[in-house]
């Protein structure tokens, strides 16, 4: 098969991407069908609750893909990707807040409720424009994108690498968490943004909107996945791997490592932002705990569990862990942490390359063409 010359089309010729997209779209179609056309009481009916739940998993999957892009291929273990996710979420949340209009508790047409009862007189400047969908959606990309750009510019320029980079990403998200907790920041403090009503004119509390959001998330995941795949399979992807494994050597070949890192990091942050933006209307709240360092670590755990540097592994990991969480917190509320913790331990010990490693092994038995997976890079 001739390899496409267009970098964006290249992923579509890969078997793994074809399978991934096939499975994803099949899942979207099946869920939609079962939700719409199966009678409520049928065992096959997929409830609105489940649809939203799946939507949430897909958001997490997109987030995990974003993390895998920088961790798996660029060797940057970001322990602060939750920050980009949350920023995207806040951008969306601000839009949704403004959509409430005068239907809030205090009926103030401009100010969100939390501002009214904490005596704000006017909307802070950074809330301006968020009543317009286009502006908010641009901010979904820009807010995390710009943060990643500034942060990455500083860090990569100074050649911060390894754990040092990981820890300052963590410091970044931690600082943002504390900042967003502050009520003075004007983002609702600990309570965050909630009580959303509608999005683009659709009532958020209807099943149809939920289904729509679910499908939109699925499509976003597909697009995000293809973008990442395109980057990874391009020459830039190979340069990324080169940076990951031998940063100094890459420089001597004439590549500006810091720019490669910055580019990929910003793309990844934006994808995380999109994931956050889709997450917020589906779960109905955004609060600073999304900035918590432990959440960011958890994302990395999903990726590691699914299998690093495969992208689809990240998707599997995110969905699996969160599904396990949903099930365990329901059926064994007192002991679910044992199960989840045990799962993490067992996977690491018995599946060195995560779940994707297991799949790969089986695939490898059949074919021999295999994209190189990461050796150990430094943390």
């Amino acid at each position: 098969m001739a390899i496409s010359q267009n970098w964006l089309l290249r992923p579509f010729q890969e078997r793994s991407t074809q399978i991934f997209l096939g499975v994803l779209f099949a899942a979207l179609v099946v869920v939609t069908f079962l939700h719409l056309f199966m009678p409520q009481d049928s065992a096959l009916h997929v409830s609105a609750y489940t649809v939203t739940l799946l939507g949430k998993y897909l958001c997490y999957a997109l987030l995990a893909v974003a993390v895998d892009l920088v961790w798996g291929y660029l060797g940057i273990l970001s322990l602060g990707h939750g920050a980009f996710f949350a920023l995207g979420g806040y951008a969306m949340g601000m839009y949704l807040m403004r959509q409430i209009g005068d239907r809030g508790t205090y009926g103030d047409p401009i100010l969100p409720d939390f501002m009214v009862f904490l005596n704000w007189d006017e909307l802070p400047w950074y809330w301006l424009g968020f009543d317009m969908a286009w502006f908010a959606f641009i901010m979904v990309l820009l807010a995390p994108g710009i943060l990643a750009l500034v942060f990455g510019f500083l860090a990569f320029r100074s050649r911060v690498t390894g754990v040092y980079l990981s820890i300052i990403t963590q410091a970044l998200t931690f600082a943002l968490m504390l900042a967003f907790f502050r009520n003075e920041m004007g983002f609702g403090g600990n309570n965050g943004l909630t009580d959303f009503r509608d999005i683009l004119g659709f009532n958020l509390r209807t099943d149809a909107t939920r289904l729509g959001l679910f499908i939109a998330t699925g499509i976003a995941l597909a697009i995000g996945y293809v973008i990442c795949r395109a980057i990874v399979t391009s020459k830039l992807g190979r340069v990324s791997i080169a940076c990951r494994d031998a940063e100094a050597r890459t420089r001597f070949l004439g590549y500006r490592v810091e720019r490669v890192q910055l580019f990929v990091f910003v793309v990844s942050a934006m994808l995380a932002g999109v994931a956050g933006a889709l997450y917020v209307p589906q779960v109905g709240i955004i609060n600073p705990s999304e900035f918590s360092p432990l959440f960011s670590i958890e994302i990395v755990v999903w990726v590691a569990l699914g299998g690093r540097a495969t992208l689809y592994g990240a998707v599997i990991g995110a969905i699996l862990v969160n599904y396990a969480k949903t099930v365990f917190t329901g059926v064994m509320p007192d002991a679910w942490l044992f199960a989840l913790g045990g799962l993490f331990v067992l996977v690491t010990v018995f599946l060195p390359k995560g779940i994707a490693g297991l799949l790969q092994k089986r695939r490898k038995a059949k074919t021999d063409d295999d994209t190189p997976t990461g050796q150990e890079a430094t943390a």
Binding site: S158, I168, I297, A304
Partner: protein, 532 residues
């Protein structure tokens, strides 16, 4: 004021009263006194106390203390006033306040507490302080005189002056003079300000402040001057205090991080369960205190070796069961130890309790080391600071002077080669991980004296610990020490003007910016070797 008048009587009567033998048994006047107290409506309580205090009964002090501590109750059925010896749980152990005879346990339902409130308690403290003014121990007298500061009124001046005559200890005399001066400044006495001019005691300052606000211009001017000098001295003290706060916070960070500096910094294991190892140490302290009820100090000291052992054992189990399979895959240790941390947390919730546990601070660790009236160093933190330094020094010795230190570095830098040099890598791994974990346990023992002992303990320290280790420069124990102490100090310097939240944010931003300047931390590994 009634109570204070009675005090005067009391003071005068005291010498003779103390030597009186117990009065005749048939008609114990104490019974009536206590009954009156118990029956008294809020407005009559003072009177009842007066009666007790001025009765000259030698048991009076015990009753007043018991009353102040909520240990006086009445049996609902009989109305008898009893002393509650132990008021934990549903059945309380009681005794006869008149004879001291133990009356066994009684259900709490059967008992009715003799009500007391804060205001009365404050007055009782004054009474007890007054009683102490004649104690044999000068320390007690000084404390008592200090308590009198700001509480002196007209009726007390004479007895205090009398006391001043007899008083031999200069310290106590000073205190009494200050106490009197505070009263006199209130009365508009100019000379009294001279007495207070050098005092750093808050109550002296309060008195001067009031004088400044008052309507006597001469007094106000002089008081203002005196305050000026005091402010000057206070500034210095405040700086010293802030520094102490900083070092103390820093020592906590160092303690929490130092074990991680071994397991993560030296061995390269991203140990997310480090916080839970700290938690185990803290729980060990709690456990030891359960084993030795009533001897919190002994229990605490024994917790140091046991806490180390418990955490080290847990570390060995973790190493053997998981980490050994992850050699050369440092990033995956993050995944596995994250799982272990979840398990340990929930284990504590299930096996012990989701609630915090009480760890008692032993007497000798409570309170402060008083440098002067404006500067005192809290003892628990002082001990923790010292403990942190000792732990650090010991660890440094082990890593520098023993073979283990060399071997662990060799093993982490090139495992196969180290083994080819005959180093038993497995044993080194176990011992090192156990050491790092054990030190985490020690941190837990110390933290139990400062903060909650609960399932979330570890979570609160894990992020900070990584921050400190990395800020100091991975693999450098000195770095960890300096990083911890300096981050603590910066935080405490910022806090007064930025507030706790902003101070923390600023410190984090500082770390981010600092790492831009020194991408390998405070004490980086330099040279070719570090670049790999």
């Amino acid at each position: 004021m009634g109570i204070l008048r009675s005090l005067t009587l009391l003071l005068i009567a005291l010498a003779s009263v103390l030597s009186l033998p117990a009065t005749a048994q048939d008609e114990d006047p104490g019974e009536q006194l206590l009954f009156n107290l118990a029956e008294a409506p809020a407005s009559k309580v003072e009177e009842a106390i007066n009666a007790i205090v001025s009765s000259g009964d030698e048991r009076a002090r015990g009753w007043i203390e018991a009353y102040g501590n909520n240990r006086l109750s009445r049996i609902k059925d009989t109305g008898q006033v009893v002393l509650v010896l132990n008021n934990r749980g549903r059945d309380w152990e009681i005794a006869n306040p008149l004879t001291g005879e133990n009356m066994g346990d009684m259900s709490r339902r059967e008992l009715d507490r003799v009500a007391i409130n804060n205001r009365i308690r404050g007055q009782l403290e004054g009474i007890l302080a007054m009683l102490d003014l004649n104690a044999a121990d000068p320390d007690v007298r000084e404390a008592s005189a200090q308590d009198m500061m700001g509480k002196v009124d007209a009726s007390l001046v004479a007895p205090l002056e009398a006391r001043l005559e007899q008083e031999g200890s200069a310290r106590v005399r000073n205190r009494i003079e200050e106490a009197l001066a505070i009263y006199r400044v209130g009365e508009g006495n100019l000379e009294a300000i001279d007495v207070l001019a050098g005092s750093l005691h808050p109550r002296a300052r309060a008195a001067l402040n009031e004088a400044v606000r008052g309507d006597n211009p001469a007094l106000a001017t002089k008081a203002k001057q005196a305050l000026g000098t005091i402010e000057q001295k206070l500034k210095l003290n405040r700086a010293a205090e802030t520094l102490y706060f900083g070092l103390s916070l820093g020592s906590v960070l160092v303690l929490a991080a130092i074990g991680l500096a071994i397991t993560f910094g030296v061995m390269g294991v991203i140990n997310m369960a480090h916080g839970e190892l700290i938690m185990l140490g803290a729980y060990t302290t709690w456990g030891m205190q359960q084993l030795f009820p009533g001897q919190p100090g002994l229990a605490l000291i024994l917790s140091i070796p046991t806490g180390f052992m418990v955490a080290a054992t847990a570390g060995i189990i973790i190493e053997r069961s998981v980490i050994q399979y992850l050699k050369g895959r440092p990033l995956e240790t993050l995944l596995a130890t994250f799982g272990i941390s979840l398990i340990l947390q929930q284990l504590v919730r299930t096996v012990i309790s989701p609630q915090n546990r009480t760890v008692v601070t032993p007497e000798w660790m409570s309170g402060s080391l008083v440098i002067n009236d404006a500067l005192s160093l809290t003892l628990n933190r002082l001990y923790v600071l010292a403990f942190a330094l000792v732990v650090f020094a010991t660890l440094m010795l082990i890593m520098r002077k023993t073979r283990l230190g060399l071997e662990v570095r060799a093993v982490t830098q090139n495992r196969n080669m180290a083994r080819s040099m005959g180093i038993r890598a497995t044993r080194v791994d176990i011992m090192t991980f156990a050491l790092g974990s054990g030190v985490a346990g020690l941190a837990g023992v110390a933290l139990s004296q400062l903060t909650n002992v609960g399932p979330n303990l570890g979570q609160n320290y894990i992020i900070d610990s990584f921050m400190v280790v990395v800020f100091g420069g991975v693999g450098n124990l000195w770095g960890t020490l300096i990083a911890g102490l300096s981050l603590g100090t910066i935080n405490q310097l910022l806090e007064p003007w930025a507030g706790a939240v902003l101070a923390k944010i600023i410190v984090l931003v500082f770390i981010i910016l600092f790492i831009q300047k020194r991408p390998k931390g405070l004490f980086p590994q330099k040279g070719r070797a570090a670049e790999g």
